[in-house]
Symmetry: C3
Amino acid sequence: MGDFFQKYLKSCQTFATNMRLRLPLLCIILEVILIILFGTLVEYNVDTDAKLWNANKNQSATRHDYENEFYYRYPSFQDVHVMIFVGFGFLMTFLQRYGFSSVGFNFLIAAFSLQWATLMQGFFHGMHHGKIHVGVTSMINADFCTGSVLISFGAVLGKTSPVQLLVMAIFEVTLFAVNEFILLTILGANDAGGSMTIHTFGAYFGLVVTRVLYRPNLDKSKHRNSSVYHSDLFAMIGTIYLWMFWPSFNSAITNYGDPQHRTAMNTYYSLASCTLATFAFSALVNPEGKLDMVHIQNAALAGGVAVGTAGEMMLTPFGSMIVGFLAGTISVLGYKYLTPVLESKLKIQDTCGIHNLHGMPGVLGAVVGAVTSALASPAVYGNGLQRVFADGEPGEWNAQSRGGFQAISLVVTLGMALIGGLVTGGYKVGKCSECMLPLGKSFDLIYFKFTTVIILCHSNERI
Amino acid sequence: MGDFFQKYLKSCQTFATNMRLRLPLLCIILEVILIILFGTLVEYNVDTDAKLWNANKNQSATRHDYENEFYYRYPSFQDVHVMIFVGFGFLMTFLQRYGFSSVGFNFLIAAFSLQWATLMQGFFHGMHHGKIHVGVTSMINADFCTGSVLISFGAVLGKTSPVQLLVMAIFEVTLFAVNEFILLTILGANDAGGSMTIHTFGAYFGLVVTRVLYRPNLDKSKHRNSSVYHSDLFAMIGTIYLWMFWPSFNSAITNYGDPQHRTAMNTYYSLASCTLATFAFSALVNPEGKLDMVHIQNAALAGGVAVGTAGEMMLTPFGSMIVGFLAGTISVLGYKYLTPVLESKLKIQDTCGIHNLHGMPGVLGAVVGAVTSALASPAVYGNGLQRVFADGEPGEWNAQSRGGFQAISLVVTLGMALIGGLVTGGYKVGKCSECMLPLGKSFDLIYFKFTTVIILCHSNERI
Amino acid sequence: MGDFFQKYLKSCQTFATNMRLRLPLLCIILEVILIILFGTLVEYNVDTDAKLWNANKNQSATRHDYENEFYYRYPSFQDVHVMIFVGFGFLMTFLQRYGFSSVGFNFLIAAFSLQWATLMQGFFHGMHHGKIHVGVTSMINADFCTGSVLISFGAVLGKTSPVQLLVMAIFEVTLFAVNEFILLTILGANDAGGSMTIHTFGAYFGLVVTRVLYRPNLDKSKHRNSSVYHSDLFAMIGTIYLWMFWPSFNSAITNYGDPQHRTAMNTYYSLASCTLATFAFSALVNPEGKLDMVHIQNAALAGGVAVGTAGEMMLTPFGSMIVGFLAGTISVLGYKYLTPVLESKLKIQDTCGIHNLHGMPGVLGAVVGAVTSALASPAVYGNGLQRVFADGEPGEWNAQSRGGFQAISLVVTLGMALIGGLVTGGYKVGKCSECMLPLGKSFDLIYFKFTTVIILCHSNERI
């Protein structure tokens, strides 16, 4: 086996000179594939097709332009869009060396993922007579899926090339769509704000990938990871935009009317409460009582993650605030006490601390969702029960079983994320004889030689 | 009395070591109180409650989801939210030393204030059978009240700890709600964009507080207050966001239909006109004809403040532009000629110049509102009169009396702000024997020893 | 003639001392004129007038507040507003020396242009019984026209004073309105997103002006034009905001319902595809395979420009992605190979590369629009045909002639832009005997001496 590796390591040197072509070729090939698939599979839906929308209008006298889903969802879509491109992009600029990388690569991965996600989500749970129908709802869903990829990006920031990130996105988007299909379609779970599908999945997927790509000498370049004054202000732009628009994020694809309104409000209160918890515990865990920028920038957002599932339910502002407070607390404590342990003991280098912002709060959100579902009753929801729970038909409603399915959904999500991350990142097969780095199945080369056994020293993979 | 002070000054030393616990404890205690009060007092309103919204829908065949107030107000809410967190937060980053403080503390105070404001505003003018009903309108109102606190923050930036700011917010939010109750409910005044309730109140409240906290040696650290290239660009982010979204701010809680539409447009024209006045007078008052960044960043916004009351009325674009031009002019002249006098003669250190941006333009807006009300007639407003003026019933309309009540509202607001600021900031009772700083009733310790007579040297109060 | 120039060149020295008054006086005079014209010409439209809106409501029982155009267009307006003030403003901050100039002057020109555009657009195609009616649609149109001026600003950034920019805006807005009148009213062309009226017009107008203002020694100060780390991050704020909100830009004034929805979605896919093309070709044209910040910041937006005309048509996501891919490709290639040639051979100094971002993609968009129109059929559009093409009446529809009129519109636009730019920039009449700079009809002095023959050495024109 040693000879086998040596042979491939030498070929790495040849690859290195070809690397300047890898990103352009991958981008062009991917986009051409996307265009062909869109050409054969994608169609306008009723609300975006000139013929269909106006045909329907004539048939039914009560259908008006203001009933087009555009007016219900487009403002929320734009807020979500800002979160994906400004929020996630700038949040990661706090690392001074990676400021432009984080915004720029974020831009590239997101632009790819939203197209790929449209296809994958359409394929798994949006086919109509062999065609994928698109409209503002599919645009929001594609942005959601992109968000999950960007969460994982936060874990591997600083040790991955854009090529690797694109390959990761191909896998992650696909698995995201499968997991979403299992949860929403098969198990009938509620997860409008994506505590499970987006945050838990994205976080644990990313953590496994960063584990596989473990680089012991990353510590030596830690000065790169330090933040400076201006990078902190740029990062606050990301934080604040995520914080402000989270109510739109969680409510973007809930049902019209009271569910959308209620979800936005629950999220608003959860975030406000979470922010006070974050400031409190950030000062508390510091020996001098100083506030830690990283906590403020990240943990204050955990309240949005934690009401992603239950936000559309009758959680009440009171309940939302309790959930937000808990989320902020565990997030700060995670940054302080858990992240160092993850790195030293489990060799998980979580660059942006996504376990604290998306992982644990996501799991909390799933649990809160299961409990809130299990407590839901027709007495509280009235005629609105079925508008929140699709299976909430009068007389047949079983809150406990609903809560159970929510809990199963969390387990499925964790399983999918862990296995998916492992497959994507590749398993460890040895060490580079030259630089002592672990060698993985170099997932970013799959596309290049159409083989799964190519071994490449990670230190050569940087573009 | 001297002994009395000495005793307390010594105890300050002990406090100093405990200070690292003050912020965390205050945050936790406040949030716990908020959660308990929300649990006992706050309920979903008709538009956010699953049972109530869907019950109503069945009773009336004409009630559709698109009539939920969410679709009328939520886009405006998000714009207001951006103004509060990005606009106010980044506007104050022009002081290079306080860049992160301004964004970070802005975040903390706002997150607290919007929760506290929901309770106070609900308590004073939103109780329904002993419960506070919440929805997107209450969210906007809470953000408005928060805006007032942040205006005051602009006057004391650089000489207050987050603990002091939180205590100031507790008092100011409460008095804001009382003043709002007097104006809108008792006097029946119009003030949708808050020229009086938000801007005039916030500005004069803050000016009194900063007067009480006067620190003569603040001059010595004036180099801290200087701006640099990048801090100016960050501040422009704040300015531009406030400028762009001000039409949404002024129109966020006006009546549906023409008033909301008209308010947004009047504000748009007022701001455009104000901007030209600002550039003109900024260059004019400079000996070399150079533009002053601080004027551009602040005075260009005065046009939004000055149509806060009259914007929903038939002010016409023509009238809005005149008001905007005047507002920009007095604001620039205020920065140039009044601010230095306020500091040297009246010992009012107005760090961000809120008197020029919110104080004088707010008073101008109140006067414009009173005049426009006094000129309102059924001939101009037609059937729309009552949609702008709640008491504009046909046959009983008295424009002059309406104008009079608007004028009284301004006087009440000024009185409330001045007394409120004085009570909150505390009165001056002596000087610190050590550092010669004035001693005030240390308002930020009230929560700590449950007494109003604790005296603490301000120089020790910094966290 | 030499004497003639010498005489005027001396008078320049006197002017220099008066220059500090030029900007203030121009701003004040312009704003006063605007206010007078608004007072005599502008009225609220049906949707913003208290009497008219509520009168209509009573007449027709089916008219509800949610039918006010405010709710259909205002969220889009706010997105467009953000693009104009944040997007264009910050996009140009990549030049480190001109960071504040670009944001600040952008602010001034935009605030003026939107007022002047309201008048000009109303005058040429919005008069009702001698009055200009205003509402949210006129606000969007005014912002669109402003966008065109800001595009031209990108070509002359760094060699023009704010006074010159304001004078350019006076001319350009007027010609924009004339061109728009010819295209939309006379030729009946479709151009909702302004591929022709905004981008092509603004780009070629600006290129001619910068040609006239050619300064050979601009090269010497090229270090001023270099970008630095933070200026790149600020520029990315501009880029990302333009990118995210472009779907709102293109759909802001299309018909309600399916056209608005479809336009937003087509733009979304075009931009995503364009971004991948931009990353691919940016790396490909670099000898080391590195990404060029300027390409990412600009070319990724070309996809929005290129679907400005066809976006509202049944272009399909597939077609949009192809257009976006082409737009990104030609834009990057333009930056790499065409811009240097334009400067060295044609003496066109295109500071921000507007030819690559707006010029060529705008022409591409016009061509795509003409082709898509020529292919439009009742079979595809059904009853929706007339909602996209105003002249799409059943039985009388002639797709080929529609395509022809679209093509003519492009030619008209190019002609208007070139002639307009020449008139505005002034023709070259000689060289300054002192500094060898070319002398043009100094357009920014027209207002000052009410003559068209004043000659002023450009090197003295800087304020």
